[in-house]
Amino acid sequence: MTALLEVQSLSKQFLGSEGKALTDVNFSVSEGEFVSIIGPSGAGKSTLLRCINRMIDASSGEITFDDRNVTKLKKKELKMVRTKIGMIFQHYNLVDRLSVIENTLHGNLGKKSAIAGVLGLYSQEEKEQALRILSVLGLESLIYKRADQLSGGQKQRVGIARALIQNPRMLLCDEPIASLDPNSAKVIMDHLRDISTSMGITVLVNLHQVDVALKYSDKIIGINSGQVVFNGSPAAITKEDIQRIYGSEAEDLIFDLGGIHAS
């Protein structure tokens, strides 16, 4: 397996704030891998994810995606790279007044000419692909429904469909299940896992639920105050690692490593 994504000594300092949001972050992700990033609130998980597709510009360091140095790309090349990276959000970020299928097709805007995108002209193949993806996600009966009439779980599946229609090499998911009930959360995580396993798409997920991260991931990256403090397989994680990621209070948290590893 070759590395699809490589992050080298990445640092980020926001303008006007003292202290760094990210300090010397290094890790690499292989093609098709499912990686969870865990850490306390404010640790820098969202910042890290957004540095990868340059929604936020890193202060220093290098990010290599598919053998290209993302940090040095010009505007046009950056757009091309972004079409290869899907993104999924905690609050879904759909256009409320548009239908499920329109929102799904939005994933293709980056590949279209400005005019076709502005007018919303999509080819027959694009529409067929949208339908295929939506039916895999169990949304085929809802394609003409407006996005604001969907439940949270359905909205997130539309979010996934919008990312998948890009034909991405990698998905970045920023707390995709933080606003969902346990059942919908499981559906979403199962879909993400399936996308990684059967389509070979690399998945990077920010998570707050350690048990979920351990259950679904090939690899866990633990972050505390902008630094990577754990990088390894879920099986290798110990109580001390959890403490290092979340601080000493972690003892009181509910998770039981033994139980999780056993199941």
């Binding site: 597709n53 929604m55 757009k79 091309m80 972004r82 079409t83 990276i85 899907g86 993104m87 959000f89 609050h91 970020n93 759909l94 256009v95 409320d96 007044r97 548009l98 939005h106 994933g107 805007l109 980056g110 590949k111 279209k112 400005a114 995108g117 502005v118 007018l119 919303g120 979010g159 919008r162 990312a163 890009q166 970045l172």
Partner: protein, 283 residues
């Protein structure tokens, strides 16, 4: 029995309370300022009525004469110098003026509204556009028409330019505020998939704010109709306003003014109803 007992105890409870006035408002800076302002305004009003130069007008008689005028204006309206068809045509001319200026204003305002929305342009550009627009808006429409009349001459051209000018400034504010209301996550999502600025505008920003934009535009249309009537009279822009001006200042025909007023009222009500219907269907 039991109920009676309870009533008496409740009554006693109320009686036992020491009687003391409870103030609802506390005195602070803002209440003092508000009350002082109201008092001064009241004083000025009274003083004004005493100091008017009444030129020996008998107040009661003047009132009666006014009522007589209003009576013949609104209860005995007639059309003498022109026909119903002509009046209808003139109303359409006025509506046309309002429609044209609103349409021009809306098209230009969409563009500047995008530049004025902080989330879609840069902070610097946004402040500049908003500042200019606030200045234009602060000057009344009529004044703009008169200013443009210097170059274009008093007439319909000055009215169209002046009214468009003010409509743009009004709609830029309304549009940019509805653009700014859009969740920034939606913009982020499309940007992250590689979409460009124009694509984001047309696929996310405009669809999300369309209802607001339409209802603001229609409101401006109603304003422009009223302004267009006034412009017909004051700036010679034609339409029903000009007929009204002629009827009142030239022919001194009070009854015809009444008829024209009814025409304008009917159109205004029609517009109002259309606006309400439109709003209901859009949401």
């Amino acid at each position: 029995m039991e109920a009676n007992g309870q009533v008496t105890t409740a009554g006693q409870l109320v009686k036992q309370r020491p009687r003391r006035q409870i103030r609802v408002k506390t005195w602070n800076r803002s209440t003092v300022v508000t009350r002082a302002t109201l008092l001064i305004l009241a004083g000025l009003t009274v003083y004004a009525f005493f100091s008017f130069d009444y030129k020996e007008i008998d107040f009661v008689q003047a009132m009666l004469a006014t009522f007589a005028n209003l009576k013949s204006m609104f209860l005995e309206p007639h059309l003498q110098r022109f026909t119903f068809g002509h009046a209808l045509y003139q109303v359409l001319v006025t509506l046309g003026l309002a429609f044209l200026t609103t349409l021009f204003g809306a098209v230009i305002a969409v563009f500047f509204g995008l530049l004025a929305a902080e989330n879609l342009s840069s902070k610097w550009v946004s402040s500049v556009v908003k500042g200019v627009v606030a200045f234009i808006r602060a000057v009344p429409t009529v004044l703009w028409v008169l200013i443009f009349a210097v170059a274009a001459g008093l007439g319909s051209v000055a009215a169209v330019i002046g009214m468009t000018f003010h409509s743009v400034s009004y709609l830029v504010k309304a549009y940019s505020e509805s653009f700014e209301e859009l969740d920034k996550g939606v913009i982020e999502a499309l940007k992250a998939s590689g979409a460009g600025w124009w694509q984001i505008i047309f696929q996310a920003v405009l669809p999300s704010s369309l209802t607001y934009m339409i209802s603001w535009t229609f409101l401006r249309f109603e304003i422009n109709f009223a302004v267009a009537v006034a412009m017909g009279a004051a700036a010679g822009a034609g339409g029903i306003g000009f007929d009204m001006f002629m009827a009142s200042n030239f022919y001194l025909d009070i009854r015809e003014i009444g008829a024209i007023t009814y025409f304008i009222l009917a159109v205004a009500i029609l517009l109002e109803i259309t606006a309400a219907k439109l709003k209901k269907r859009l949401t």
